[in-house]
Amino acid sequence: MTRKALGDLEHQVLLATLRLRGNAYSVSVVTEVEDRTGREVAQSAVFIALRRLEEKGLLQSKLHDQAGKQGRDRRYFEMTPAGLEKLREMRQALVGLWEGLTAELDGMP
């Protein structure tokens, strides 16, 4: 498993993939991320990120016959155990950082 930290987009793509539970491909991931964050992301960036995460062993993909438009094959991504572990690691790191900051951020004394 890689010890390298993930980029923001990769992080978001991993989370969206987890949310989509087996229905993750570039279109659904883009829609999910844009809906959840309210910001536009480049489809190409997501497309490449999915494959890069697969290379890193955090996702795995499967071709579904004739799932796409006009009956073409479509590649769906899902989490690998390593990917889940990575997300846990990142959550742990971020939560650690977030701890005790609620007051400052929400303007409470």
């Binding site: 279109v27 489809q43 190409s44 960036a45 490449i48 290379e55 062993g57 479509r74």
Partner: protein, 900 residues
């Protein structure tokens, strides 16, 4: 634009992935159309395409950068990385180039030396190759020039000599009548200057005399008009001329009406029948052609003609040779007396026969220099790779594969080779300018000399060979590196036995090559020294020479010529600075007339033999300061109607008269006229007329005839070949009164152009220019190669001192004297020089076989040359070895040992 971006995305992602991407992008677009409308979705699509370009291309580059080592690579990932291989290659190349540039910039001195060395070697060889190529190897500028040949007469026992292609008028007639269907034409290969009178004034122009059909045989008809016809080419026929394009343009302003017009050439009217094209070149660089009017008497009685033959399409060379060989070449009644045959020599080889050896020698010298350069560069590279061993070992230890190292070193060599090659072309281009000027004074350079495709190809080849040669050594080093020993022993201790041995072997080769070069240069210098040191036999001090062409209708009789001589000489002698003046057919150090003669009244009458013959006016002996050894000088009393007399020189007396007393001896000159020797004068050096000694100048047996007794027909014939010289001895620098002399001649005849005005010193200097050029060139080449080898030796020893610091320090600490340590190191250098000398001696023995044909007055086993070479190499090699070795003596053993 969209198409281009689509292609970029495809390139970035790969075909398969790109197709998937575009499908999914289409899907999202349709979703966006549904949710946000066509307009917004359209904007999005355009933006997305731009972003896709960027992401796809950077993704591909990222993959290329991270190499093929993808973590958890699936089959898909592997195939993708194969696609990226092309990128990876360029990427690695860029990286290697960057690395090489940085490495070169870090060592500017080494890099500069490297590029300059290669540049000089490649430049010199390119320039010399261009010259040699243009003279020896480029096809003659005539259609199917490989079908042109010269018909020659030869003796089967001695074989065909390419430099002896002249035949007689009888030979020409036999070949002409017997060689059909081969086309043949006769011409004179003797360049001669003639006088042209035009409205713009008198001019001295170069004439070539050719027979009818000459241009048709060459394959180049006149650009305007026609060739000479039968009538014009018959003795006594109407005078006609064909102009070169240059002369037509310069003197006649490209007059389109020139054909049929009359021009005044050689003192009489000639009808212009043709003009040659601008592109036409002939090896004699003629301005005008006149009919040869070949015959088998007079000029044609001797071997003064060349017979050009064109072998027709479809006829093999062998068939043509057999056809010519079948013609009977024997004129003698006695069949056994002479066994002559006719044969063919290819035209270009005949033209370059005398230049081949000297030019190939020059080319060989630069080739040796190039080899020394390559060996030197290889040595440098080995030294560098030895120095870089720890770095390379480290890189290999951390996983840099041998392949990538190999490519890195190769890139570096190719870059150095490329830069050196470019520098070489630049240097070659500059050198060629100078070289052309020097060479064209010594060789017939009628073809343009430039760095053309062939020369560029040759230099690319040479550079490539050089790159391979010097690149190979360090590559072997990389391959054979023993990581552990390098890393364990650290930066100092690694004993690169193989590398050092290789470097030393390269140095031995260099010393060997340099020795051969120095040996050749030494022999050429000694030969030139011999020629320079020959006793000229006259005093050139303050002697001016002026040439005038008398191949002219105004000087057709003996009286015309003598009248002109006497008038001009009395005008010249009236100049206050002038002491004496005379006219001679040829000057010392120039080629004299060859003349057949027999000694009359000798006890055994041998066959007719040949002597040099010069007609002179009585003042000649005094003007040149020749000693009269016995008898008397010529004087005014030796007139046309007096007893025919001659002066003979010492060499003539020694070679031909033997026991016969010289003064009073009788000769039959030129077959019939009987003359008496009235005096013997000292020898002078004269250029070689193709017989006797092989040297360029020698004291040839010579007779001096009084001009007054030479006779009209004789003069007319010799004046078509030779341009007589006025020799004038005066006080002070001849340059100061040469104008006066020219004026004096023009007082007598204002319509005669001066062919050449030069001091006698210049004439002598010009005669020895070719050997001087060869010697100077070889000194330069050998000197450069020597410098390279010495620098290489110095580097090796300096390196050895650095690497053996600890060992030498330890030795000195244990009681070795500093002097002893210096000797140990220095002697290791001298030993290399010694091995090099042994190799050099073997090479020199080979070289001497070739060089023997261009040296005179010295044998190849010339003790002074060999001694100088040996002592010089040992002294210089010793200096280059011991100079760096003295550093050992200055070492402080205790400090060195503390460093541990």
């Amino acid at each position: 634009m969209n198409g281009f971006m689509t292609r970029l995305v495809r390139w970035g992602l790969g075909e398969e992935e790109a197709r998937e991407f575009f499908l999914e992008m289409d899907e999202l677009y349709h979703e966006k159309v549904g949710s946000k409308g066509t307009r917004t979705a359209g904007h999005w699509r355009r933006r997305e395409l731009h972003r896709a370009c960027f992401h796809a291309v950077s993704d591909r580059l990222r993959k290329a950068f991270s190499g093929r080592r993808t973590v958890g690579s699936t089959e898909r990932a592997r195939s993708r990385s194969r696609e990226a291989l092309g990128v990876a290659f360029f990427d690695e190349l860029t990286r290697n180039l960057k690395f090489s540039f940085r490495g070169m910039a870090r060592r500017p001195l080494l890099t500069g030396t490297f590029i300059l060395t290669l540049g000089l070697c490649v430049g010199a060889s390119t320039a010399v190759f261009s010259v040699v190529d243009s003279i020896l190897w480029r096809a003659l500028p005539y259609p199917d020039s490989d079908r042109l040949a010269l018909a020659v007469a030869y003796n089967p026992e001695s074989g065909i000599r390419r430099d002896m292609s002249a035949v007689t008028g009888m030979d020409w007639e036999r070949v002409r009548d017997g060689a059909s269907p081969l086309r043949a034409a006769v011409f004179s290969d003797w360049p001669s200057g003639v006088n042209l009178s035009a409205e713009a004034g008198a001019a001295f122009v170069q004439q070539q005399r050719v027979g009818k059909g000459f241009f048709r045989t060459l394959g180049v008809p006149p650009f305007m008009g026609r060739e000479f016809d039968v009538a014009e080419d018959t003795p006594g026929g109407p005078p006609a001329a064909i102009l070169s394009h240059g002369l037509w343009s310069r003197t006649f302003q490209k007059d389109p009406e020139i054909l049929g017009r009359s021009i005044r050439l050689k003192g009489e009217e000639h009808t212009v029948v043709g003009v040659m094209a601008e592109s036409f070149r002939s090896h004699l660089d003629a301005d005008v052609w006149t009919p040869l009017q070949a015959s088998n008497t007079g000029e044609g009685g001797g071997a003064n003609y060349q017979v050009l033959v064109r072998i027709p399409e479809g006829t093999l060379w062998e068939e043509a040779f057999a056809r010519v060989g079948a013609i009977d070449a024997n004129f003698s009644e006695d069949e056994d007396a002479s066994d002559r045959r006719y044969g063919l020599v290819s035209f270009d080889q005949a033209l370059t026969a005398t230049m081949r050896t000297p030019l190939l020698l020059l080319l060989g010298a630069v080739a040796l220099m190039l080899l020394v350069g390559c060996a030197n560069l290889a040595g440098l590279q080995v030294a560098r790779s030895l120095a870089r061993r720890p770095e390379i070992a480290t890189r290999q230890a951390v996983g840099g594969g041998a392949g990538s190292l190999f490519r890195q070193v190769l890139t570096e060599n190719l870059l150095l080779g490329f830069l050196g090659g470019v520098a070489g072309l630049g240097i070659g281009y500059l050198a060629l300018g100078g070289l052309t000027k020097v060479v064209s004074t010594q060789f017939d350079t009628w073809q343009a000399m430039n760095i053309d495709g062939r020369a560029v190809m040759a230099s690319i080849l040479v550079t490539a060979v050089a790159v391979v040669a010097f690149g190979l050594a360090p590559l072997l080093q990389v391959r054979s590196l023993d990581l552990r020993s390098v890393l364990v022993s650290g930066y100092r201790g690694a004993v690169g036995g193989g590398g050092h041995r290789l470097r030393k072997a390269l140095l031995v080769v260099q010393v060997g090559l340099v020795t051969a070069l120095l040996f050749s240069a030494g022999l050429l210098v000694r030969s030139y020294g011999h020629l320079e040191g020959l006793e000229p036999g006259f005093d050139p001090e303050g002697v001016l020479t002026v040439q005038l062409s008398l191949d002219d209708a105004r000087f057709s009789t003996g009286e015309d010529v003598m009248g002109f001589f006497q008038e001009t000489l009395s005008e010249i002698e009236a100049i206050p600075q002038v002491n004496s003046a005379a006219v001679a057919l040829t000057l010392p150090y120039e080629r004299p007339l060859n003349f057949p003669f027999e000694v009359l009244g000798a006890s055994e009458e041998g066959p007719p033999t040949v002597t040099s013959a010069v007609y002179v006016t009585p003042g000649f002996v005094k003007t040149l300061g020749l000693p009269v050894l016995s008898g008397r000088n010529l004087d005014a009393a030796d007139a046309a109607d007096a007893t025919p007399v001659v002066l003979a020189n010492q060499a003539f007396v020694e070679q031909y008269l033997g026991e016969i007393p010289a003064v009073g001896a009788r000769l039959a000159l030129g077959g019939n006229s009987e003359v008496v020797i009235v005096g013997v004068v000292g020898d002078v050096q004269q250029a070689n007329g193709g017989w006797g000694s092989g040297g360029p100048v020698w004291a040839s047996p010579t007779v001096y005839l009084p001009a007054a007794q030479a006779g009209g027909p004789f003069m007319q014939t010799v004046h078509t070949w030779f341009t007589p010289s006025w020799v004038v001895k005066g006080r002070g620098d001849p340059a100061q009164w040469s104008q006066e002399v020219a004026k004096a001649i023009h007082t007598v005849n204002p319509d005669l152009p001066l062919a050449r005005v030069a001091s006698l010193d210049e004439v002598v200097s010009r005669a020895l220019a070719r050997p001087r050029l060869g010697a100077a060139f070889l000194i330069m080449v050998a000197g450069f190669a020597l410098t390279l080898a010495l620098v290489g030796l110095y580097g090796i020893i300096a390196n050895e001192v650095g690497e053996r610091r600890r060992e030498l320090g330890l030795r000195m600490a244990l009681g070795a004297t500093p002097g002893g340590a210096v000797r140990t190191v220095g002697m290791s250098g001298l030993r290399l020089v010694f091995y090099g000398l042994v190799l050099g001696a073997a090479l020199s023995a080979g070289v001497s076989r070739i060089i023997v044909s261009v040296i005179w007055g010295v044998t190849p086993f010339d003790p002074p040359t060999i001694a100088m070479g040996l002592i010089g190499m040992l002294a210089l090699g010793g200096a280059a070895s011991f100079l760096p070795a003295t550093r050992v003596g200055r070492m402080d053993p205790s400090r060195i040992l503390r460093e541990e």
